[in-house]
Amino acid sequence: MAHSQRFPAAFVTALLLAASPGHVRADYVCQPLDVPGAAWTQVWQLNSTGAVAAGSDLGGRVYSGGGWLPLPPLPAGSGFASSEVAALGINDAGVTVGVAGPDTSQQAFILSGSTYAFFSYRPDLYTGTEARAISNSGLVTGVAYNQDGGTGFVYNPSAAPRFAAGYTEIVPTLPDGTVAWRTIPNGINSAGQFVGSADFNPGGRYGFLYDPDWRAQGASKPLTLFQLDGAYTAPRGIDNAGRIVGFTRAGGGGIVGFLLTAQGHQLITCPGLDAANGLYLESINDSGVISGMRTDAAGVNHGLLIFPDVTLPVTSVDGAFVFDAAVSPSTPVFLDPEPAVGYQYAIGEGNPLFTSVTLPIGVGDDVYTVLAQGRAFHLAGGQRLDFTQSGFPSGLASFAVMGIEKSAGVDANDPTPS
């Protein structure tokens, strides 16, 4: 689904004014997502086609098309070990960005197909560079660092609109003139708006939203600093509707996730999962699915996806789960339980037709078969099957999903969110 809604300055103001007192209500379901066989997984950006950029002890990985794929081999002579490579960002075209090298002297890369383009920002000043995220127009957010801190930038290698070609340095400054000693720009949407965090001494950690069209929006400056409830705030992802996710200490305890919309902010925890050392939300895609990671009591990172506004069945009749929910055209609805052994999905009397289905990532081998009116479709987890573009221009009243391995161990009768 394509959201084209802009995120004007007036909306930003309203959003930020609403940020402290407002708390939206929605049920979120957390689903673990780890690189198979890895001792630790860091899940970063999730794009709107269901691909995920990740790092792990096994090296960088991208989930795409139903499987976790290792990053292509590094160029001969790069000097980097495959275990020193992490994918941090991925846009809807699959162009991936990340870092390679030892922690103190990383280089950033843009990976298109199997071709790496390495870059470092101001190597005369900084010992390492991270590429954090990439927009659909090819704008890359990143940070260059040394022992004294880090400087954020936007890198525009292909002269995409809204930013000067090359590098634009981001310098968050408090009203008293204190300049951030470390700036981490991160998620960037199709309008070039991006979010990140800025650390001040004194002042602590602030979140920021940068809007390249700030003049047209009537704002006084491109960058707006904010904190949720006056606490440590680190936004990391922004979608094309302007929804922002990240992590914060606004809950008064440890680090938890947050979702910030025009309706206010909501703290997100995953009660069924061990996030004793923090829950870090890194991106949100246009369906509203959030990616991120948690750090458990032992300090180990694990990836996860978080699904919004999950609709649970209201009852079960003769083995069929029955739903009752308001829906609107093209707005995703997330149904629980997960398809355990194969399901037939059917609308009720008078309901609008199904127009698409997207099946979950991280269940069995992530490869499904969708059967509809005598036609079969092979579908990977995270990929959208648009019925209206697949021979059913008006949509479908029913379809079946198969291909869920029994070994996946999903309980068809347990719709309990984790």
Partner: protein, 103 residues
């Protein structure tokens, strides 16, 4: 989670159902998908044979029929059956084999 979207029109609600499939219903769906696929009625005939065997509680016969279905689809892949469709049909047949308890 399964993510679905809906079109315009209707009553603006989803009051539908998710019904767990049984091997019999999966076979019926697979047979529907295989109808008019490949040369003649050979593929769907094999699935009808599997359905009949399954209805009779004949696991061996069900598995044998599914095995011949998989073999023929695989042989026709890229020829009379599109490669992607063949993959989908074979994958589903294997799932049914697993559900039935084929060795």
């Amino acid at each position: 989670m399964t993510e679905v979207t809906f079109g315009a029109g209707g009553n603006g609600r989803f009051t539908g159902t998710m019904t767990a499939l049984t091997p019999a219903s999966e076979l019926a769906d697979l047979a529907a998908a295989a109808t008019a696929v490949g040369p003649g009625q050979s593929l769907v005939t094999k699935l009808r044979r599997a359905q009949t065997a399954l209805a009779a509680g004949d696991v061996t016969g069900t598995c044998a029929a599914l095995g011949t279905f998989v073999a023929e689809v695989s042989a026709q892949a890229g020829k009379h059956v599109g490669a992607m469709l063949a993959d989908a049909l074979v994958a589903e047949a294997h799932e049914i084999e697993g559900a039935v308890g084929c060795p």
